[in-house]
């Protein structure tokens, strides 16, 4: 063995050691960021940053993909992802609905049952299959340097901003007031009904399964579901409202628009006093933004730990890059019409008893049936 190769062996640390050092460095950076947020903005925001780190670590650590979970069912009839999602929703629900019912200071993700929800959720379900990510997935994969998600994210931000800005016009198409099932059926009634529906859906998926091995192996994804439910309840207890993603993205767009000189004071949504206050305050004071930042950090730590912090770019052709940008705008705009994405409407809506969450799920799944075919047509991998 030559002297050069011996030197090389001695100087190059093993991959595991390099990975451990990288994870250690990221954990220290995240801890410093948490301290900085707590010092600058307050303990509540610091705690929510930690909750966000938990979300990101779970999502990236066990590859808990909302979008992929639906796609592998549609293509392969593998119910694993959907079953894990139902488990997370059910566990969050059995704690969240009683908490909200007994504490007026806590709010659910309860939105109007509107025509815009059906249209918005359908478009969102379609676009998320093209983009290969919902709100959380796009955000954390962009943070990992995924070129495709980086192309999706700016459109997502500005689409979300414009969707909120136009929301009043879409609501004029027709909307019932927000319906919380616990207000009509009681706490126990709402929980039992939703558990029965989730259980029936899970049983149907299980009977129709062809495989359970396309993406997730072992019980890690179910452990991830339990942890997501725990973090969702912590989010509710600390912030007073459930987990959300896209409001924060729209707010970032509104702040950029305001900085560029756009007058938002007369806008039906962004002109409201509460929204104007958010636009003029730091994003670090916004509860949705701070969990988004935490999610980014947590996903980076977990992906580095797993050794997959460098996801390959998914687009090779110009048409695929254009599709990424268009899908980003569609995701952002439609998620505001639908009062949330997979997180704000589907996960948080259903787990806090909102009827709109179920309508969102049905319409978005129908959109995904189309989106999966479009994805194949565009030649996108995965």
């Amino acid at each position: 063995m030559s002297a050069v190769s011996i030197t090389g062996l001695l100087s190059a640390p093993p991959v595991a050691t390099r990975g451990t050092r990288a994870v250690g460095g990221l954990v220290v950076a995240a801890a410093l960021a948490c301290l900085a947020v707590t010092w600058l903005v307050g303990l509540r925001q610091g705690l929510l940053f930690l909750v966000g780190i938990g979300y990101g670590a779970v999502l990236a650590g066990v590859s808990f993909g909302f979008t992929t979970g639906w796609r592998v069912w549609i293509r392969e009839r593998d119910p694993t992802g959907l079953l894990a999602q139902f488990l997370a929703i059910a566990l969050a629900m059995v704690v969240s609905i009683p908490l909200i019912a007994s504490h007026a200071e806590l709010s659910g993700a309860v939105a109007p049952v509107a025509v815009s929800v059906v249209i918005g959720a359908f478009v969102f379900g379609l676009a998320m299959q093209i983009a290969d990510g919902c709100g959380s997935g796009t955000l954390y994969k962009a943070g990992l340097g995924n070129g495709f998600s980086l192309a999706v994210l700016p459109g997502f931000i500005f689409g979300s901003f414009y969707g909120a800005a136009h929301l009043d016009r879409w609501l004029a198409l027709g909307a019932l007031p927000p319906i919380a099932l616990q207000d009509h059926l009681g706490t126990a009634g709402a929980i039992l009904l939703q558990l029965a529906v989730l259980g029936a859906l899970a049983a149907w998926l299980w009977r129709r399964r062809r495989t359970t091995q396309t993406r997730w192996r072992g019980k890690a994804v179910y452990l991830g579901a339990v942890l997501l439910a725990v973090f969702a309840v912590l989010n509710l207890v600390i912030a007073g409202q459930p987990w959300g993603i896209v409001y924060g993205l729209g707010l970032w767009g509104a702040k950029i628009a305001a900085a560029l000189g756009m007058d938002l004071a007369s806008n039906a949504f962004w002109g409201r006093a509460a929204q104007q206050a958010h636009i003029h305050a730091s994003v670090l004071t916004d509860v949705t933004s701070i969990t988004n930042f935490g999610l980014l950090a947590g996903a980076m730590i977990a992906a580095t730990g797993r050794g997959n912090a460098c996801p390959p770019p998914e687009a090779q052709r110009a048409s695929q890059w254009i599709a990424a940008i268009v899908a980003g705008v569609a995701l952002g705009y439609s998620s505001r019409l639908a009062f949330g994405c997979n997180v704000g409407a589907y996960f948080s809506g259903i787990s806090t008893g909102s009827l709109h969450g179920w309508i969102w799920f049905a319409a978005a799944f129908a959109g995904s049936l189309v989106g999966v075919r479009l994805r194949a047509h565009l030649g996108l991998k995965g």
Partner: protein
Amino acid sequence: MSPPRGRGDEDAHSLGGAARSAKGGRKVRVLAFAAAFWALVLGLLALDWAHSVPHNRFNEPLPWQLGHEKGDSAGHCAAPLK
């Protein structure tokens, strides 16, 4: 003693090297994308903090909402009319 390497082995070897090189290049590009993303995020956060209404950290809400009086409304994607 290892068997003599033929032309096919050399081709395969050079193809493997090209694949490793492409993979390495892709990894560098992805790391550059991630670094640019995080630099942009941190830069925008600093800019936003500098240009926002100053935050009074001595007038904070309590660390958690449960059990405390409801404060100012926070934004949520499912709450359009706040």
